[in-house]
Symmetry: C2
Subunit: 678 residues, 2 copies
């Protein structure tokens, strides 16, 4: 590389160097460490190494770059263009030789390690760096003068053509190898997995000739639903998604009833393992069919789930999780051949399961951490995933704590008299007029409020069948704001004089939302159930705040189905979550599933989450005396210990029973009127 | 460690050091790197750490050692003695504290890395250093104040108590872990395998409490017979051996007919794989039953075999080995879970298959190399394993070559008119009187020669049914020495005038050994078959000698069943093997199986053979023009190119047809008489 050699500048990286005349651009890029993708290894087959040649004077770089500074379009490029198409101006860098100074632009979609944009706002991008890569290789033919086995020559090709060493493989690959090599006329595509236990690289699949489809599936195994995302390992794009009810529900609605099933039915864990694996295969077949690919194109699967689900899909009896000391069989990350989980993908596919954090804080929470990255925050972040237990992570770069709090299933609509799962017919939004105590509501499946014309027709198909989890939060908060319940959660029976919706029931009072079949009402017991649940959640968070010795939280992320649907304002009114600027409280959607997708697409993310989980301080609420104290204190609305300066900007909380209405920007479609009682 | 501390000298190693009063002897030994075994990690359970306390003045070491310089026998030692027995004077070093200067003797049978003595004379010992070791560990109980999973605490115990890190394990282990930990009351024995692909340690089996049985099986899968040796991984002792006919024989007697079977019957390789694996399981069950252990105590299996057997037991179609360029699917060492070969051992057991050298030089030859160690010799060693092909290794420390020579099945008795496998009734020894041309012979199953009284009664059960491989070598050589055949292998029809045993047959002559049913005779075609076989063998050896540019061979090792049974003198008369001092020609017995046993017992032996096989120069006789030339030249008796100076000490070869009888020290029971013709 003398001064006489042409100067090459790659954008956007800015990497530059001088190369002899005639050097292929791809080779120059590799020498400089510029990320240009290639599956075929420079043979004009895959088309991943496309570039644009800069034209004109580039003052910044001190050179003039023109099309005449590269070799003309070659026969193989013409052939590629004819068969697979090449965008105007694009060249294959493997076929393009340097004949003068050049500015070369690498299109973003063709960069290795490119950023995968996530749909959620305000989230970090995923860097594409999968554990499984495809490598097209040309293998030497056997030569009796230099005898060597076919596999040895495959390994040599991987080393010489892709710099991949220390490779091992399954017997199944060896058994197929000779036929595939000969079918591909000594050209094959090899899939290499870089994270097998122990280390080294693993040859997991081979195809004759050139093959460029490599997919992975990220699955969040929830107690109620299972969600799968088929993802292209080369582009990071989600090719298909599907969800399914967890078929284990027939063994018990919630986690503890499933653990009980195992306790009562020895061997029952095997049944549950079988049905969950069957469900994973069903989902896999759905997404594969939707994307129009072959099952054998699926080379990896990443799973997350709460500890009980984690144990069950791995085939581990979860009974130890049913009682103190809640010991996990393993909380370590699990990397196993997918076939060991009876998963029908490519026979060589590997499965990665994110680490669990503690006995009640599972791989799903690890997924939330990977997605929301509290460990990268300068300010304190609270991430909460609410299910039967609330899994809580609190901290920042400096320190991270996690615990689980026994909220029970009230937030999911269970243990609530009219509660139900989020499904068409369930009330999900509600407003109560503080003067008349009349409710207006919306149900899942219709955009209309109950006081709008056409509502009854719109819901006639399903009826109004109950209240879902997010609806329950709203109705309790609205009852509180309307003065139907007081700070202690007691339904004010004196209001029966004002409204017939306040109905006596045994020695307490109910609030009737809708008369009919079924009759939808909130009982005193319902209020108590929500009080217990929200107190547990708050107490868990408060306990971690004590450990960190903080009073303020910078950001809150609410993960999971419940977290995605509740109105955070109401969550704060009820005191589910501690005080925080409402603009910094966000739903994280299915953050656990997103974490699984990150681990699928980025090898280093696995190192990252494994390291983070090791340093997370695990707090067991059951052995923390302060948890009980926080719990008791958090029963009231809003809790007595920490009035919300942030929330008062939105709604002024009643000093006694006065209510100041907010700015009306919420989705109830109108301002609120002030009502004064007393 | 000050001068004031007692001085401890360990014998036989001579390692010495000073330790504070009260230090346990085992701890001192470990600090000094003295090899004392222990499975229980110093808990007085396993009894492997026994020592003898020296008594008296040890001038050599400058100290006086007495029983009073150690702590008295402790309660736990008394208990061990009561339950398991402790030889007089023996102490458990883990329980014995240093109280003064000591000379401590480590009994040879209790040393780690001890030498395992092999039955064969003049062979190197095996150093005991297995890949799988048992480790008794005490695991911390779960503690809600410091939540961690059971597996994490197992890994921590392995690190803290055994210094074993980077451990992974099968899902099956994780699924069993919680029950076994609780059953063992947090004490378990773990089997750790150190050579899983990729690296790291693999937890392969766990037992509640203390367990000290760990076995491995070494198996040589021959085309005709399969031999298994169950070996104690802690002592190196062979606990049981068993052999079985290879059931694949029903698909074809020899290798090529089995490969042909696959070519003619697509999928036939799957049948052959199934029957061979079934046979391996049958053998395994036999040896395990004989030794009175459980199948789950078998933690490793090592397999060797020729390339076709190697491919078939691994489940690889062997058709490519049936024709040029004879490419192996893999020649690399294979390390796979034994269950992937359908082998029913401990479910966590691993299988190791030695590397193959070339398309016709298999893992069995690698076993021969490991056993006979030509790569460690100063002088040139020839190791030959004769079967349907002769696998030939030649060389020394400096350089090693290997080839395979197509001897055909004549040496195994096939393609010989009266040939048969070595079995009762087969002629195995023969002498021909050079004057009368009368034969005397012995058959397998009787110690009597045919001219001794009682011979006919002794063989009446089986009859005399044919001639086995080693018998054929002798009869052809004796025919030559008696002048029945000339140097060109032609049966001398003129002798029909002297003896009725020379019978005309078509246009040639037969030599009749025994009249009766069956009639046992040697035809001209039989002589030709042996000439072709021996010429092929010799030509292969000669080719390698050319490559090494040598004329002399220092040592010869004849491996395999044929090599073990032939009289090397006759082999040299016929020119099967090149000139060599007869005292340096030895049978190596089942050297391939011995090699498998070495690889089973010594982890470094696997590195060794893998490295040696890589540097062996593979010669393909099919593409070497000189091979044909040597082959043609080697057809005559004795070959014309290299008369034997060594052999002439034993028998003088006929300058024309004169025979000078040797010194009569061979086992034919008497001197020979001289006969002159012409």
């Amino acid at each position: 590389m003398t001064e006489a050699n042409p100067l090459i500048v790659f954008t956007p990286s800015g990497k530059r160097g001088r190369f002899p005349m005639g050097t292929p651009v791809l080779q120059a890029a590799r020498a400089l460490g510029v990320d240009i993708d290639s599956v075929c290894g420079g043979r004009a087959i895959c088309g991943r190494c496309q570039i644009n040649i800069g034209e004109g004077e580039f003052a910044k770089h001190g050179i003039t770059s023109t099309q005449s500074h590269v070799s003309p379009v070659s026969k193989v490029e013409e052939r590629f263009d004819r068969i697979r198409g090449l965008a105007a101006g694009r060249r294959l860098s493997c076929q393009t030789q340097i004949l003068g100074d050049l500015v070369i632009d690498v299109p973003p979609e063709l960069q290795v390690h490119k950023q995968v944009v996530r749909k959620e706002a305000d989230t970090r991008a995923i860097e594409l760096d999968p554990c499984t890569r495809l490598c097209f290789i040309e293998v030497e033919e056997p030569d009796m003068h230099k005898p060597s086995s076919d596999l040895e020559r495959v390994y040599r090709a991987l080393k010489d053509q892709w710099n991949i060493e220390n490779v091992s493989c399954d017997l199944a690959i060896i058994a197929d190898l000779q036929k595939i090599l000969r079918k591909g006329e000594w050209k094959i595509t090899a899939a290499v997995f870089s994270r097998a236990p122990g280390g080294g690289n693993r040859l997991v699949a081979i195809w004759p000739g050139f093959h460029d489809r490599a997919f992975g599936i990220a699955i969040d195994v929830g107690s109620t639903t299972i969600a799968a995302h088929l993802t292209n390992l080369s582009t990071g794009e989600v090719a298909a998604s599907a969800g399914l009810m967890n078929p284990q529900i027939r063994f018990g609605e919630d986690l503890m009833s499933r653990v009980s099933y195992v306790m009562m039915n020895p061997g029952g864990e095997k049944e549950m393992t079988a049905v969950i694996r069957e469900a994973l295969n069903t989902l896999t077949q759905q997404v594969v069919a939707e994307a129009g690919i072959a099952l054998t194109d699926v080379l990896e699967i990443v799973l997350v789930g709460n500890p009980v689900m984690h144990h069950l899909f791995l085939g581990i009896d979860p009974v130890e999780l049913g009682g103190a000391p809640f010991a996990l069989a393993t909380g370590l990350p699990v990397t196993v051949p997918a076939r060991e989980l009876d998963l029908k993908l490519n026979p060589g596919a590997w499965c990665y399961v994110l680490p669990c954090i503690a006995g009640h804080v599972g791989a799903d929470t690890a997924g939330v951490v990977l997605s929301e990255a509290p460990h990268e925050q300068d300010e304190i972040m609270l991430a909460v995933d609410v299910g039967t237990n609330a899994e809580i992570v609190l901290g920042s770069k400096a320190r991270l704590l996690a615990c689980s709090s026994p909220t029970g299933p009230a937030f999911e609509g269970a243990q609530i008299s009219c509660g139900q799962r989020a499904a068409p017919g369930a009330i999900e939004r509600i407003r109560i007029d503080p003067v008349t105590l009349e409710p207006r509501y919306r149900v899942i499946g219709s955009e209309l409020w109950s006081d709008e014309p056409g509502f009854e027709e719109a819901v006639s198909a399903t009826g109004v069948t109950g209240i879902c989890g997010s609806g329950i939060i709203e109705v309790i908060a609205e009852m509180y704001l309307a003065g139907v319940i007081n700070q202690d959660g007691l339904v004010d029976g004196s209001l029966a004089a004002i409204s017939p919706r306040i109905e006596p029931y045994k020695r307490t009072f109910n609030y009737l939302i809708r008369d009919g079949e079924p009759r939808i009402q909130i009982t005193q017991n319902d209020v108590r159930a929500i009080q217990l649940a929200k107190a547990a959640l708050y107490a868990g968070v408060r306990l971690l705040m004590d450990k960190l010795n903080i009073e303020e939280i910078g950001k809150i992320r609410l993960a999971g189905a419940f977290g995605s649907h509740i109105d955070v304002k109401y969550a704060m009114i009820l005191g589910l979550i501690p005080d925080c600027d409402l603009t910094h409280v966000q739903s994280a959607g299915n953050a656990a599933g997103t974490g699984a997708r990150i681990a699928l697409l980025n090898s280093k993310a696995r190192d990252e989450i494994e390291a983070v989980v090791r340093r997370i301080e695990k707090i067991e609420t059951a052995v923390e005396p302060k948890f009980q104290q926080h719990f008791v204190e958090a029963m009231a609305f809003p809790h007595k210990t920490a009035p919300s300066p942030h929330l008062s900007k939105v709604v002024m909380l009643p000093p006694r029973k006065d209510i100041v209405i907010g700015d009306g920007n919420d989705d109830d479609g109108g301002g609120r009127r002030r009502r004064r009682r007393g």
